[in-house]
């Protein structure tokens, strides 16, 4: 009697497998980062604002920061920009920018008209630094703790909801912007 149901069980199993595949398919654009829980890459890049000064990872050790990869060419970055400005106003965590594959002139013009949410911006016109962070599209945002460990990565434009539900709960309650 039970044997009659074997084809049905096989069918249900295969159908479930395919359904799982279909449901997970849209997430293909979100590739989980193997860098979470690991040390953030060491870097030292010229500052976007002051080409002769450097922005380096050693300056960032000791406090929490959001490492935001952006570029003026990136439409989604413009989309998340109001939220970045809002995050900067809260004074909870500093934003460190990585201006990726951009030109200095365009970036500076953009910041002066739209406002500047960043504490510091590293300039990566060649795009090689972003590879060290496993970046494959902008915007991408990394939450780094005072020990320099990447705690969380958010792919895509940060929404108010992403800030309150995904980023804020990962920060200790008493954090405020250090050094600004």
């Amino acid at each position: 009697m039970i044997r009659r149901f074997i084809p049905l069980l096989v069918f249900v199993g295969v159908a479930a497998l395919l359904a799982m595949g279909i449901m997970q398919a849209p997430r293909k654009d979100l590739v989980p980062s193997p860098l979470i829980g690991k040390h953030a890459p060491n870097f030292s890049l010229p500052s976007l604002m002051h080409p002769h000064r450097m922005v380096s990872s050693t300056q960032l050790i000791g406090h929490w920061y959001l490492f935001n990869v952006w570029g003026t060419w990136c439409i989604s970055c413009r989309q998340e920009y109001p939220e970045l400005l809002a995050i900067a106003r809260t004074g909870i965590v500093p934003l460190i920018g990585l201006d990726w594959k951009d030109t200095r002139g365009e970036a500076l013009a953009f910041l002066s008209t739209k406002g500047d949410p960043y504490q510091r911006i590293a300039f990566d016109p060649g795009g090689l630094e972003a590879i060290h962070w496993g970046v494959y599209g902008a915007p991408e945002t990394f939450l780094v703790n005072p020990q320099g460990i990447i705690v969380y990565k958010y792919i895509g434009p940060i929404t108010p909801r992403a800030w309150t539900e995904d980023i804020l709960p990962r920060l200790p309650a008493d954090t405020t912007v250090a050094g600004s």
Binding site: S33, P34, L35, G127, I131, G134
Partner: protein
């Protein structure tokens, strides 16, 4: 006349056949043929993270160009293929490799076809064995409850 039309009809097919050798990107020269060969093999083995179904060798995306540049720099600096693969896997995960390695996480991926083949072979074996038993039983005395006997009776 007909020959020309035939040639015209075959032209797109001929062009398509050449596609695998076409290059989306300008070839770059490595200093030695050995390095060039390693470079070629490596860029065909990595996924373009933006287009995902194309290799670094075929992708026109600028991120892919940056990654190729990174590979060239590492090759020139004397890194081994293994080191280069490790560099990208540690930053982008195994997803960046077109051929996933055999590790715990991917074991099911490699083993499932073998297991399915085994299950299929066992199932086929059982079915074939049953059929042979059925053929043997045909030579035995017909069972009066058998459908065949009844039709024979009706034919009489």
């Amino acid at each position: 006349m007909r020959l020309t039309r035939l040639a015209l009809a075959l032209l797109p097919i001929a062009l398509l056949l050449g596609a695998p050798w076409a290059r989306a990107i300008a070839p770059t020269q490595m200093p030695t043929p050995a390095l060039e060969a390693r470079y070629e093999r490596l860029i065909h083995g990595f996924r373009c993270m933006q287009c995902q179904d194309e290799s670094l060798a075929n992708s026109p995306v600028s991120l892919a160009a940056d990654m190729r540049r990174q590979i060239r720099q590492m090759l020139l600096a004397g890194d081994t293929d293994r080191q280069i693969r490790k560099f990208f896997v540690s930053r982008y995960g195994y997803f960046i490799l077109f051929k996933p390695p055999f590790v715990w996480k991917t074991a099911w991926l490699w083993l499932t076809p073998g297991i399915l083949l085994l299950v299929g072979a066992v199932a086929a074996g059982v079915v074939i064995h049953r059929r042979t038993l059925l053929v043997q039983s045909d030579h035995e005395e017909p069972d009066p409850r058998d459908g065949l006997t009844r039709t024979q009776e009706r034919g009489r």
